[in-house]
């Protein structure tokens, strides 16, 4: 039974149930790297090139974490997950960037997922199954099961759960998925790539900090594809990055919806797609007069500075909400 390592990084937050269910159905053992820590990031920094973004450095750290514990590491080349869209150039070259910078790696399982010209993700899983030496019928059965699990996961996300909660719910631990009861508290939309906002170390526990302050948080992942598309339709041209389009689409949707009291855009330092997506979001938020905070993360981010900015932002959000409620009451 091969032990397959999956780094808890990058699109783990999107697709982990899909991948895990596939491997487990085939009878493989799945090992996930532990949640990001300072040590993991530091090891990633040592091995990654200087100019790559924080999420990739974190991913390298996770790969190193798995290196000696598994028979193979699953590091797919995610080229495109939707027709006429890409992820980001760094995802396209990720297997090479990681493979060439770390010595003594176990084999990388890096099939390419490319739906740019449409088609089914089955080919991706078929290649994966072939590489592991399983017969096609078994691969097909595993693929179908994996897709069912992924569908279920997506529904859980759309019901408002965050990825880790949804994953717990999938495993049948419903207690973790208690609804957040926050009637009457301000609603803040946190917009950003899942691997930044849900990684508590990378985001310096942004979601936890907001929760403890009694802020209700919504993210892009609880939005259906339909709503994202409607939001993104306001762009002058279709955005060709899937994550960027989701970010802008969700932000535009929440801006138009009118019920959020503030918006936080989280991006990594020097993120290419976000430099454009963030620009569109910030311009629209300013035009609509919504409190807007742009948090840029990198390995040098200091928590104290972030807390100060967050508090100032939340003061503004709360004051504005109170002011508005008083205004509408009188």
């Amino acid at each position: 039974m091969p032990r397959i390592g999956i780094p808890r990084a990058l699109l783990y937050y999107h697709y982990f149930p899909w991948w895990e269910a596939f491997f487990v159905s085939l009878g493989a053992e799945v090992v996930i790297s532990p949640p990001t820590t300072k040590a993991i990031l530091d090891r990633g920094l040592e091995h990654a090139a200087d100019d790559v973004c924080l999420p990739v450095k974190v991913a390298v750290g996770h790969v190193l974490e798995l290196k000696d514990r598994v028979d193979a590491i699953f590091l797919p080349r995610l080229v495109s997950v939707a027709a006429r869209e890409y992820i980001c150039p760094k995802f396209l070259g990720l297997p090479e960037m990681v493979g060439h910078s770390i010595k003594g790696l176990p084999p990388l399982l890096s099939p390419g997922l490319n739906l740019y010209r449409g088609g089914s993700p089955y080919h991706f899983f078929a290649a994966l199954g072939r590489a592991l030496g399983y017969p096609p019928w078994q691969v097909l059965a595993a693929y179908r099961r994996a897709c069912r699990v992924q569908q279920q996961y997506k529904r859980l996300l759309e019901s408002g759960l965050f990825p880790e909660e949804a994953l717990a719910a999938l495993r049948g631990r419903h207690d973790a998925a208690a609804p957040r009861d926050t009637m009457g508290s301000p609603l803040v939309a946190v917009i950003g790539h899942p691997y930044n906002i849900y990684d508590a170390f990378v985001s310096m526990d942004l979601l936890g900090k907001l929760g403890r302050r009694g802020i209700k948080v919504i993210t892009a992942d609880s939005l259906s594809e339909e709503n994202v598309c409607r939001g993104a339709a306001h762009l002058p041209k279709r955005l060709f990055w899937t994550l960027g389009r989701r970010t802008v689409g969700a932000a535009y949707h929440y801006l138009q919806w009118g019920r959020v009291d503030g918006m936080i855009h989280v991006s990594s330092f020097a993120c290419g797609p976000d430099s454009f997506a963030g620009e569109f979001i910030a311009r629209r938020a300013h035009r609509m007069g919504l409190p807007f905070l742009s948090l840029v993360l990198d390995e040098h981010s200091g928590e104290a500075g972030m807390v100060t900015r967050l508090e100032a932002f939340l003061d503004m959000v709360e004051r504005r909400k109170k002011y508005r409620e008083e205004g509408s009451a009188s």
Binding site: G93, K237, S275, E279
Partner: protein, 362 residues
């Protein structure tokens, strides 16, 4: 309608020729300067790449000269260039610069979209004339590239320092002044003659360095602090992995014009290191570096703007190639904070290193 477009090296010579031949009024933006960069980086997103900032500066300066229509190229990712025009336009609108935007890019739905855009710019001119105009512009680009290659050869070997630059400047003026395709042959002859009058020492030993990387920073001397000239004066003969006419051929003429190098060859050479496209010229960068190593060049310099995604992928793979092929590689990242003095120091030490290696091996 007064049409403007962004600068990228000598691109303006070709585009202006094309449009003027068709009777379109053209505003060539003032040459890119520090002011262009300051204007651009003031209004552009912080992490946008340098070319966007310079484009934006060009458009603001062209507006001051009365331009009202932007002609831009586009694309469909994953490199950010495909979305440049839209971001720049949104910024200009918010600043109060009213511009009409015409983006030449692969059509979203059908080929008619692109044709309609060409018609919008060219007005009533026939398609035959449009084709002629494009060919005219392409010929100019090709001629300039020949002259540039000659200058790359001459610079490290010139007898009187600076004579190559003067000759090239004159030749450029002659090529830029041609208004009709029938005068091209004469201009070419004149320009070549000027270049051939530069006295040089064919036996002087020189280093050979290949320059690879992101196209804009390769082609725009302002963005790379005149890297080629600096290297030339340090006794280095340079070759660039991509020239303007090759880019026009690959991207605007769909490779129809043929040529001595295509992106395919570079991508084949990249395969052992990076076997997938990564947008922009990332794969070509890796492939061209491998090709330069195979051709016995003494070193490779990679140029890229800060935050350039495809080149970052390439840059993180180049160390492997460097170790396997034993060719020194220097990566230079440029943005609005780059300093010229620091660059010169790095170039000098790189050249010293190459001299040392050559001395040991030869």
């Amino acid at each position: 309608m007064k049409v403007t477009f962004p600068h990228m090296g000598h691109l303006w010579v070709s585009v202006a020729a094309m449009l003027q031949y068709l009777g379109v009024e053209v505003v060539v933006p003032p040459p890119t300067t520090k002011r262009t960069l300051t204007l651009g980086s003031r209004y552009a997103p912080e992490f946008a790449c340098l070319p966007l900032k310079l484009n934006l500066g060009n458009f603001i300066e062209a507006r001051e000269l009365g331009a009202d229509t932007i002609l831009m190229a586009g694309g469909c990712g994953p490199c950010r260039f495909g979305y440049y025009a839209q971001v720049e336009h949104a910024i200009l609108e918010d600043l109060g610069y009213r511009y009409r935007l015409v983006v030449m890019e692969p059509p979203q739905r059908h080929a008619g979209e692109l044709l309609a855009k060409i018609k919008y710019i060219t007005g009533h001119r026939s398609w035959l004339e449009v084709a002629r105009a494009i060919w005219f512009g392409f010929q100019k680009a090709r001629l300039l590239d020949e002259l540039e290659r000659r200058a790359h050869y001459l610079r490290p070997r010139e007898v009187r320092r600076g004579s190559t630059d003067r000759a090239f400047g004159e030749a450029l003026k002659i090529v830029a002044a041609v208004r009709h395709p029938r005068d091209m042959a004469k201009a070419a002859e004149q320009a070549h003659r000027i270049m051939s009058e530069v006295a040089f020492d064919a036996y002087r030993p020189v280093l050979r360095v290949g320059i690879v990387g992101e196209i804009f920073t390769l082609l725009e001397p302002f963005a790379n602090y005149d890297l080629e000239r600096k290297l030339g004066h340090m006794g280095v003969e340079v070759d660039r992995s991509i020239y303007l006419s090759e880019w026009i051929n690959d991207h605007l003429l769909f490779g129809l014009a043929g040529g001595r190098r295509t992106r395919k060859a570079a991508c084949r050479a990249a395969a052992p290191y990076l076997n997938h496209f990564v947008g922009g010229h990332g794969q070509e960068t890796v492939g061209s570096a491998a090709l330069y190593a195979a051709q016995g060049y003494d070193g490779v310099i990679q140029l890229m703007p800060f935050t350039c995604m495809p080149e970052i992928v390439a840059a993180s793979i180049l160390p492997k190639l460097k170790a396997e092929l034993g060719i020194p590689v220097l990566t230079i990242v440029v943005d609005e904070h780059s300093g010229e003095a620091g660059l010169i120091t790095r170039l000098e030490s790189f050249v010293d290193l190459l001299h040392g290696r050559k001395g040991v091996e030869g």
